[in-house]
């Protein structure tokens, strides 16, 4: 797609943005963003939404999970409360984050990471599909209990790495997701 969608500073959207192409957000959004291109959240933007895109660059404020297939980058000035998922994740000095972080090629605890990711089945599963071909199919088949509370996960992380846990995608979640995402 040629043009970039720009949600200007004077805009307040309560709803969703979906489709193909790049999106630059300078205003305020409450809802959901899922696009095939790059999402840039500009300095001054206020985003209360989960964002799923090919790539995400943040300079503004976000309350929501960010899933960037190719990567997520938080620049100086970014303030994010939410989980970051991406093939690569960059957090510049001066960017503030509170949430879980998972890059595409994380060491050791793949299982635990997937459990945390499964709290947001939609963005995590979508992002995880291309990135983790091997564990994912076996995992979906097992289908164990899904959302783990953030507190439980944080606690787990504090006591050190547990043995690998079977990834916790609910049975049928991936299929349902595939159906949803056209």
């Amino acid at each position: 797609m040629a043009d970039v969608t720009v949600v200007g500073q004077g805009i307040f959207l309560r709803g969703s943005i979906r489709g193909e192409g790049d999106v630059e957000i300078r205003g305020r959004i409450e809802g959901d963003i899922e696009v095939g291109g790059e999402v840039t959240i500009a300095d001054g933007a206020l985003v209360k939404a989960d964002v799923t895109a090919r790539r995400i660059v943040v300079r503004g404020a976000v309350a929501g999970n960010l899933t960037g297939e190719d990567g997520v980058r938080l620049e100086q000035g970014a303030r994010v409360v939410g989980d970051l998922r991406g093939a690569t994740i960059g957090v510049a000095e001066g960017a503030l984050v509170r949430g879980t972080v998972q890059t595409g090629n994380a060491p050791a605890e793949r299982g635990r990471a997937r459990t945390a990711a499964a709290r947001e089945t939609k963005p995590a599963a979508r992002a995880a599909e291309p990135r983790k071909p091997v564990p994912a199919p076996a995992a979906a088949a097992k289908g164990n209990g899904l959302p783990r509370r953030p507190a439980a996960i944080a606690q787990e992380e504090r006591t050190g790495p547990p043995p690998p846990v079977v990834p916790a995608l609910k049975k049928g979640a991936r299929a349902a997701l595939r159906k949803r995402s056209r």
């Binding site: 797609m1 004077g10 969703s16 192409g21």
Partner: protein, 104 residues
């Protein structure tokens, strides 16, 4: 030029409130209230009520529109819904189905 552009390929669903000009080239479903102008370009699809200072219709709109100033239906533009505006133009080649109230 417009600060806000909804490009082709993008679909916005929900309530959009704007203090500035809006250009729609993609799809909008829901409701749009702009303090400034709204320009629905050729190829755009809007299923929403729109309120704006002025509205230009080059694409397809299904919904009621209210403009404090004017509404212009361009050639190729299509509006199915009621119009409330003090000025209205319907170009040759535009389609319109609805009621018009120019007593604002």
């Amino acid at each position: 030029m417009a600060n806000t552009v909804i490009a082709q390929g993008i679909t916005i669903e929900g309530e959009l409130t704007s203090e500035e000009d809006v250009v729609i080239q993609g799809t909008l479903r829901g409701k749009l209230v702009s303090k400034d102008t709204v320009n629905v370009e050729s190829g755009a699809i809007v299923e929403a009520d729109i309120a704006a200072s002025s509205l230009s219709v080059g694409g397809h709109i299904t919904g009621n529109v209210t403009a404090s100033d004017r509404v212009d239906l361009m050639p190729g533009g299509r509006l199915i819904g009621d119009v409330k505006a003090s000025r209205l133009t319907i170009a040759d080649g535009a389609s319109f189905k609805g009621n018009v109230d120019m007593d604002v």
